[in-house]
Structure formats: C-alpha cells, structure tokens
Symmetry: C2
Subunit: 157 residues, 2 copies
C-alpha cells in the first residue's frame, strides 16, 4: 500500500481513509500535529496554507487559512476533543463558508510493516454533507496532501 | 408532538431526536446551556448529575459526573465546537469508560407553534458505536431527561 485508500460507502455518513508512510510513528504524529510543518503539506500543491491558530491539546482550537494564486482565501477551523500522542487525535472540522456544517475527524496512528499506517475517519452530520465533501475535490486534494506529507517525511529522516 | 421522536435508521451512523417544548427559545437554550440548571434535568431521575466543568463557548470543555444510589460514578466529557445562542450548539461527547469512542452532537433550537422545537443530531464514528449507544438505555434515559427538562421549563415560566 503506497497510496491512500478512501472508502465512502453509498448512503453513509462517513469517509474512511488509510495510508501507509515509511516513517516511524512518532515522527508521523509529530509532523501532522506541529504548526510549523502544517504549511508544508496540508492541502494541494497549488494552494498556500498558513496556520492562524493551532493548539493541539484537548479543548484547543485550530484555524488554517488557504489561499490561491488569485488571492482568494478560504478558512477552516475546529477544536480538538483529544490528542493522545502518538496514537490518536480526535477533532472537529468546519469550512467557515459552510458554517454549521461540521464533521468529526478521528486520526489513528498504527505501527505497521516497519512504518506507520494512518487511518482517518470522518463522520458528517448528514449523508448530504458527506456527499458534498466527496464532490468538493477533497479526494484529489487529500491525495496530494498525503503525497506532500510523504515527501516531507522522507526529507526529515 | 409532546414526546421525543427518535430516529435511528438501520445501518446508519446517526441518531436524530426531536422534541417540542412549550417555552420560548431563549429560555430553552439558556436552561440547556447553564451549568446551574444541568443537574436539574440531565439524565434519568434515579441518577444524580453534577457539573465538574462546563464552559459553553467555542473551545470550552464540559465534564459531567453521574452517580447512582450505590455510589457508582460515571463520567462524560467533551468540547464545544460552537455555541450560537439561541440557535445552535455543536459539541463532542464521550463516556470516559469508552475513551476514544466519541460522537458529534448538534442541537438546533427552532421557534415552532408558540414554543420551541429542539432537534439533536448525534453522529458516531461507526455504526457499531451508534448501535451500542442505542442499546445502552439512552433512549429511555434521554426521554426521561427531556421530561425533566419540560417540567423545569414549566416551573421557570
């Protein structure tokens, strides 16, 4: 398994993604939880991500700003329910343009085959919201983010 | 509609509850968001709820302790994604005995027929977790909590 496997069953609230990284779990967890490294992988390559706020602890908040080359800016935010390094994070996710439409994001880090398997479980308030997310281009953008993360992890070892 | 209507479709991640209260929206919202009134309605009648922590604002945390007459204690906790008085709250929910199993709770307050319609949307990380919640007695306990809330709202008007 080198690329992300994404499962979004019809008529369900969830999207489940899995991806293997050839890097130690502690490092994968750290890079995904560190404000300093978020801009280097979060989002597709043609957009620029900046961290407006990121407090990776239970009750902390996060807010990222993503801009394109035309100067359009998109804001995403949420709160952390729990951060259990290096095993699991649980947080909420909202695109501010669709305020009130929120998903719950669970990320699980498992040691696997000398590297790390990362599983993300996203559940939405409705099946319509889940389908909207799938149609938004998140699949391609998410795959690209995972590729960037893989490249970054390779550089850091 | 005087009692709660609960919808949990087979093979789905969600539980959707609706209940009408014969009270103004501001009052219903306030009573459901105030640490001082939580112990008066949250949970079934034969248990005692105390508020360990409740910070009803984005990024705030909540934690309730529920005890029975034998002295057994159960702890529940979560974080608030957003609080928009008197319209909507979005938060996370976890029973500490099942740590890591978390749901996203959306509560919507609508003016309706001279009173307030409260809709709760709970989405779980898996269908199994949703089914486990349904089998835990939450339906009966939740109905009783809503009855207690109705009685409290009647007293406060």
């Amino acid at each position: 398994m080198s690329k992300r496997n994404l499962v979004a069953e019809p008529q369900q609230h969830s999207i489940i993604g899995t991806r293997f990284f050839n890097a130690p779990r502690e490092l994968v967890f750290k890079v995904m939880s560190d404000p300093a490294t978020i801009p280097q992988w979060w989002g597709p390559r043609n957009l620029t991500t900046t961290v407006d706020k990121m407090e990776p602890q239970s009750g902390g908040s996060w807010r990222y700003l993503v801009s394109d080359q035309k100067g359009n800016e998109f804001a995403f935010r949420g709160v952390y329910h729990s951060i259990e390094a290096p095993l699991r994070t649980i947080s909420t996710y909202e695109w501010e343009a669709l305020a009130g439409h929120v998903s719950l994001e669970t990320t699980i880090f498992e040691e696997s085959e000398g590297g790390t398997k990362v599983t993300t479980i996203s559940v939405f308030q409705s099946i319509e919201d889940r389908d909207g997310m799938m149609q938004s281009g998140m699949e391609e953008g998410g795959d690209e983010a995972m590729d960037r993360l893989e490249e970054l992890l390779a550089k850091l070892q």
